[in-house]
């Protein structure tokens, strides 16, 4: 092999350890989950030839009305919380991007909800929404309204959304603020000299420029929203009925309540497929990495 041929392979040789670690650490568990999804095994049992079911567990998942309803609830939840978190987070970032005294303290306060363990968040908000003892009803009862938040399908879904928005809007805020503060001030200045109004500066200058960061933020929030488990587990256990049963909770119940590990693996593969398709669609619509390389 000549010198040029050798040098062509050198980068691959250097990358090999990293690829091996990725293959073992990332793909092996996914492949094991895929393998498990072909077997009807209970928790604590190893897959055996007698337990092989082929695609039957996937057919069961796709024909199960509860699984479909849970997926619908999850998608609705993801759309609602991602949209509202982006809107509120970006709005707050635009409001607070200027030089404000004590901003560093404010920023720390804003990110506090993100630091709380999700189970604790679920418990805190379960108490907040308690019909009889919760502070929210203590406030709204002044208007003659005493809603049973977690005992009504629509209100329970709303309560779960509010909780997620409370916890993760600060993440969007921090990302958007960092992006805004990284903008070239001369572009904004030039637009203002040209007579652009505030909303025109925001709409035509700032938002397009921070769009790559916002897309990454949206992608991360979407994936997170599709994986939500602990908060609903602690707040509602998926109820009333299936009104707040996010798909990860459905998977959890299949694995640990009914102990059907193969079935829960099939559900997990379906969720992975949905998450991959949605993420890919988002990247096709607006891929910040591609934009970054082309510019």
């Amino acid at each position: 092999m000549n010198q040029a041929g050798q040098s062509r392979w050198i980068p691959y040789a250097f990358a090999l350890p990293a690829i091996a670690v990725m293959a073992i650490g990332l793909f092996y568990p996914i492949l094991e989950t895929l393998r498990l999804s072909f077997y009807e095994v209970r928790l604590g049992e190893a897959p055996s030839p007698q337990a092989f079911r082929g695609l039957r567990l996937f057919i069961e998942v796709l024909s199960d009305s509860a699984a479909r309803e849970s997926m619908a609830v999850t998608l609705k939840f993801a759309v609602v919380v991602c949209a509202l978190e982006l809107a509120i987070g970006i709005g707050l970032a635009l409001l607070l991007e200027g030089k404000i005294p004590g901003m560093s303290v404010l920023r720390t306060i804003f990110v506090l909800p993100m630091m709380i363990a999700p189970v604790c968040v679920g418990l805190i908000w379960r108490y907040m929404f308690d019909t009889n003892a919760g502070p929210i009803n203590a406030w709204v009862s002044g208007f003659g309204w005493k809603p049973a938040w977690l005992a009504d399908s629509s209100l329970a879904f709303l309560a779960v959304c509010i909780t997620d928005i409370w916890q993760f809007t600060p993440f969007v805020f921090i990302m958007a603020l960092a992006a805004l503060q990284g903008l070239d001030a001369s572009l904004v200045e030039a637009a203002r000299i040209d007579g652009a109004r505030l909303w025109q500066v925001i709409w035509h200058i700032k938002l397009p420029l921070i769009m790559p960061i916002l897309m990454i933020t949206l992608l991360m929030r979407l994936i997170d929203a599709l994986r939500g488990l602990e908060v609903v587990y602690a707040m509602t256990n998926g109820g009333p009925g299936l009104s707040t049963e996010l798909f990860p909770l459905h998977i959890y119940k299949s694995a640990f309540v009914t102990q059907r590990m193969g079935h829960s693996a099939a559900l997990s593969v379906c969720l992975l497929a949905v998450t991959t398709v949605l993420s890919a669609a988002l990247l096709v619509f607006n891929n910040p990495l591609r934009r970054g390389t082309s510019s």
């Binding site: 604590g44 005992a151 256990n237 009333p240 009925g241 009914t258 059907r260």
Partner: protein, 447 residues
Amino acid sequence: MTITRRQVLKTTAAAAALSLPLPYYARAQGTGWSKLKGQSIVVNWPSHPHYAVAKKLLPDFTAETGIKVELDEMPYLRLKDAQVLQMGKPKGDYDVCVYVIMWKTEYVQRKFLTELEPMFQNPELAMPNYDRGDIIKGYYEGLGLVGGPRGYLPGPGAKLYGLPYGAECSVLAYRKDILAKHNIAVPKTYDELLAACRTVKQKEPGMGGLASRAQAGHQVTAGWLLHLTPNDGLVIDDKYMPRVADPAAIKATETFKEIIATGPDGGASFDFGQMLNSFLQGQSAMYLDTISVFGPARDPAKSKIVDTVGYALHPKAAKFSGELGGFGMAIPQNSAKKEAAFAFMQWMTSKAQDVKAAAQGGQPMRLSTLDHADVQKVYPVEVYKECLKISNPDWRPIINEWTEISEKVLGVHLSEIITGKADIKTSMTDAAAKIKTICERAGYYKT
């Protein structure tokens, strides 16, 4: 040197005091317990009022036997995950597992538990004065026996795999002051119970009639089951055919829905703790669930209604029928310290410890405890004895698939019914079809 009368008396008393414990402990322990001294066992048990009391007894166990206890405590519905993972290994970390009654059949079928009869026959391990006949029969059979008729009832083929500890039956607790205020007689029938619920809801501002569990999943099914067998209903019959859409089950579901509608605000999302607190904090006039209310109801730190609670028998619908459930203790098959674990189980459920636990608010497991003067001072023993008579060992079908049926089928459909999202007949017919599919998959209909 002269010996005074006082010195003689002192010496005699001291000698008696020193010598008493030795023969007492010799009788109270198996002959081989001394060999277990210094061992350490791991016990997996629930966060529950009875076990909070039981925890106080552990230092005495270690002092008397020399066996150390490491506790792994968790919410009771989380126990199964941890236990199945541990008991599925060749060598597990748990030496004693506390299980909920509904898991016993599955655990035995999966060969997770140690049969106890051979250990009771071993004089080195068995407490001579343990007296199994003194344990409340329904609890002993309901929690401990597996392999009999339907797999979980007492009878031919049944073997002992656990001992009841924290076992329960159902009782009606009520606010004497509220019922008296509205001239409501203590309900003896379901018609009277529902009428009382309506009256309280209408006439007592901010208060519900009966507190019930109703959160989606296991809790709502447990709440509904309380009314199923009194209405002569069944979940599945002897041929494993679902009966939840039968008229009796529909009647029970209508009753349950009305109880939630006339109950405290937000009651459709209550778990066990919220239901109990609703009663103890004065938001509900009545409580119909396990006897674990006895302890907290007389504890001023937990209850605002200490002096106003009365107890009565679970009301009658088509017949008298109450819950039989709660917890039992067992030894995993893969425990390396079965002898020490067995000593622990016997000691905790012995006569002396049962009295101590009951006197502090725990749940009595023994007939002799119910007759003990200290326990009678704090426990409504007569009502409890009546409740035990109607407790039903077939209150729910304890088949392997019960958890799936309870949480994923009934736990969803009943939740939708009580929150008004689904019609009773349609939803329960749908639930019956799903239960049939589960039983079919489990192979119950193979000829």
